[in-house]
């Protein structure tokens, strides 16, 4: 048996200006550990170091660290912001992810292995092989009733959500309905109340018993939490006041003709409003289908404007 002479050069890798996927091995190890903890205790916020990345805090650095840790060269990535692939910050994040990983990108939800998103869940259903990474500005659902994170942390430990319920009750008394817009507080696996990040109420039911893994990461606030596949996610509601998603059931997209999905409202000069699909990739596919291109539209969570149970 011949022995190759070993030296530092043969034993070590060539010098590179940065690690694969930007983050170094120690940062990725911490991320992996915290993600596993987050999956093990669904909806529970896990503190993590949250390294600085080459983007400003509040611009998706939490989601970015998760994506950078999970990414592999053969993983197809999709990045959306407010539902749009071509939103400027989504373009910036997608470009960065591709640049530091060599991973291919896509605009099609069905083709994506990893989807990093700010404030939307795509309209087409995700499956068990897909991971959704949601960017989270404020990970603490209790913030409106308790601005101190340390106190809020104790309240979660005690499952002390009385003030949360009281706040919802007060809104009903004052305004006749729950006034929470996006970020609707939701009970995960019957134990931890989480914010689903500022996704519209329309999207929250998509998390309930979903096939895919959702990781929610707040880089600035240094908290990570997860909704594993097939986990209960229940918006906080009173028995006699049902949960209400945005009234977009009957709206039609002025560009693609699609109906019954979450829409962007576009003010018109005549004082009226036009609507367009918020999920831009989905909208593009509808338009392509309209002009006779061969496209595959996936199964959707909503059909005819109603959530399919």
């Amino acid at each position: 048996m011949s022995v190759t002479p070993q030296s530092l050069k043969t034993l070590s890798r060539a010098w590179e200006p940065m690690s694969y996927g930007f983050l170094d091995a120690s940062a990725k190890r911490e991320m992996r550990r915290k993600m596993i903890k987050a999956v093990a205790v669904p909806g529970c916020q896990m503190p993590y170091a949250s390294r600085e990345v080459p983007m400003a805090r509040g611009w998706g650095t939490g989601g970015l660290q998760v994506s950078l840790t999970l990414i592999r060269p053969n993983m197809r990535i999709k990045v959306i912001d407010q539902g749009a692939d071509d939103s400027v910050n989504a373009a910036s994040i997608r470009h960065f992810l591709a640049r530091v990983s060599g991973a291919p990108t896509t605009l099609d939800t069905l083709q994506a292995d990893l989807i990093q998103s700010r404030h939307r869940i795509p309209e087409e259903k995700l499956n068990e092989d897909q991971i959704l990474v949601l960017q989270v500005p404020n990970p603490e659902p209790l913030r409106p009733v308790q601005p101190n994170m340390s106190v809020a942390r104790q309240m979660h430990a005690d499952a002390d959500y009385g003030r949360m319920w009281l706040q919802l009750y007060e809104q009903i008394v004052r305004s006749g309905r729950v006034m929470q817009g996006a970020s609707y507080p939701s009970m995960v696996n019957g134990r931890h109340v989480m914010t689903p990040s500022p996704i519209p109420r329309w999207d929250v039911p998509k998390l309930n018993m979903a096939q895919h893994l959702t990781i929610l990461s707040a880089g600035r606030e240094k908290r990570i939490f997860a909704v594993p596949p097939y986990t209960r996610v229940e918006p906080l509601v009173f028995d006699d006041v049902p949960y209400k998603v945005e009234e977009h059931h009957d709206l039609t997209c002025s560009r693609s003709g699609a109906k019954g999905f979450f829409m962007n409202e576009i003010p018109q000069e005549d004082g009226s409003s036009a609507y367009e699909l918020s999920d831009s990739g989905f909208g593009v596919k509808h338009i392509q289908q309209g002009i006779g291109d061969a496209v595959t539209l996936g199964k959707t969570w909503y059909e005819n404007g109603e959530m399919v149970e």
Partner: protein
């Protein structure tokens, strides 16, 4: 649709960045060197807030960011992320610091003497407009003192401790590699002392001043007396795997120790940072002094001031509001419209004026 135009995103951000950079033109090694020599206090501030000691990189970051301090600090922090943590240097004893400036407001004179060192404190702030008309501003030469001040000075607090005036914190026995590192783990509350002082060391100068000033004006319980303020250089002593200890170089550091009377003893507040930054050290030490027993949610409570003086986080969050928020907004509009339909509106809250008005 404006900035979410179909397929326009990538090109738009590319051109927007070019427009920004075109304004500043070429960045050359000469420009970086000029920034480094001409603006040492700015370099110091940026190095402190970045918690990265490298004057050349700091000057480069300033050049690259066009002087936007938050951008420069973020550039350095992001670069720092990619660097391995190779070693933990030995703790620095105050008495070993190579001291350029060291003053105490607590005593007229102190062992080792008051050393004014380089400062603008007593200068008349008159702008040298002549320079704009072609004159050169040539600083007057310094006349060396007959006897130079000793480079190494004992700490004022050590004298006070000997005289039973102040209770010194006990020596922390934590092994160097076990010292909590704020760049490698999140700060949880109550924070360890290491985390608190590290966070303050890299805090934003302006934010630290704002909250420190609030404490000084009376929103804190303790009024600070500057026991000792130092601008100095610290030797970074590391140990070679073979056991030899050697100096890896010197870094500029500043530190402030403030005291306040509490009962029959003095309480200490402390802060230190990389680079020379007196305003930050005094403000940060004042916050440290006031944290004990501070009410939850008050500006001098550590959770409040540590979160809100973190410059990279706060500036990033502030500018993130420029990002589109139309999904969230749409969701709120929906709730508002539907509430309007049902006719119930929120009760008007009473507005009360300040009594003096």
């Amino acid at each position: 649709m404006a900035y979410v135009a179909t397929r326009g995103g990538e090109q738009a951000i590319e051109q927007a960045e070019r427009l920004f950079r075109a304004e500043m033109g070429e960045i050359t090694p000469e420009r970086v060197a000029e920034i480094k020599t001409a603006l040492p206090y700015l370099i110091d501030r940026v190095m402190g807030e970045a918690s990265l000691y490298d004057e050349d990189l700091a000057a480069l970051a300033l050049a690259q960011a066009g002087g936007d301090l938050y951008e420069a600090v973020l550039l350095l922090r992001a670069w720092r992320t990619t660097q391995p943590r190779l070693h933990v240097a030995r703790p620095i004893d105050q008495g070993t610091l190579f001291t350029h400036r060291r003053i105490s407001a607590a005593f007229k004179d102190i062992p080792g003497g008051q050393v004014l060192g380089p400062t603008l404190d007593y200068s008349h702030r008159i702008i040298a407009t002549d320079v704009l008309e072609g004159a050169r501003y040539i600083p007057d030469p310094v006349t060396p003192a007959a006897t130079p001040a000793p480079a190494r000075q004992p700490s004022v607090a050590a004298w006070q401790a000997e005289n039973d005036l102040v209770e010194m914190p006990g020596f922390d026995e934590t092994a160097p590699e076990d010292i909590p590192d704020v760049t490698r783990e999140p700060v949880l509350f109550p924070a360890t002392r290491a985390h608190r002082l590290q966070s303050l060391a890299r805090a934003d100068t302006g934010a630290t001043l704002a909250l420190g000033y609030a404490a000084m004006r009376g929103y804190g319980q303790a009024h600070p007396t500057v026991n000792e303020l130092r601008l100095c250089e610290a030797e970074i002593i590391v140990t070679h795997p073979r056991g030899t200890a050697f100096s890896a170089g010197r870094v500029k550091v500043s530190q402030a120790e403030v005291v306040s009377k509490k009962g029959n003893t003095l309480e200490l507040g402390f802060a230190a940072t990389l680079g020379w930054n007196e305003v930050k050290c005094i403000s940060a030490a004042t916050l440290d002094l006031n944290s004990k027993g501070a009410l939850k949610g008050s500006p001098t409570e550590e959770e409040f001031y540590l979160y809100h003086t973190e410059g990279v986080e706060s500036s990033g969050f502030c500018i993130h509001f420029k990002l589109p928020h139309y999904v969230t907004f749409q969701s709120s509009l929906d709730a508002m419209r539907s509430a309007k339909k049902t006719g119930k509106t929120a009760e008007k809250t009473s507005t009360s004026k300040e009594p003096a008005q």
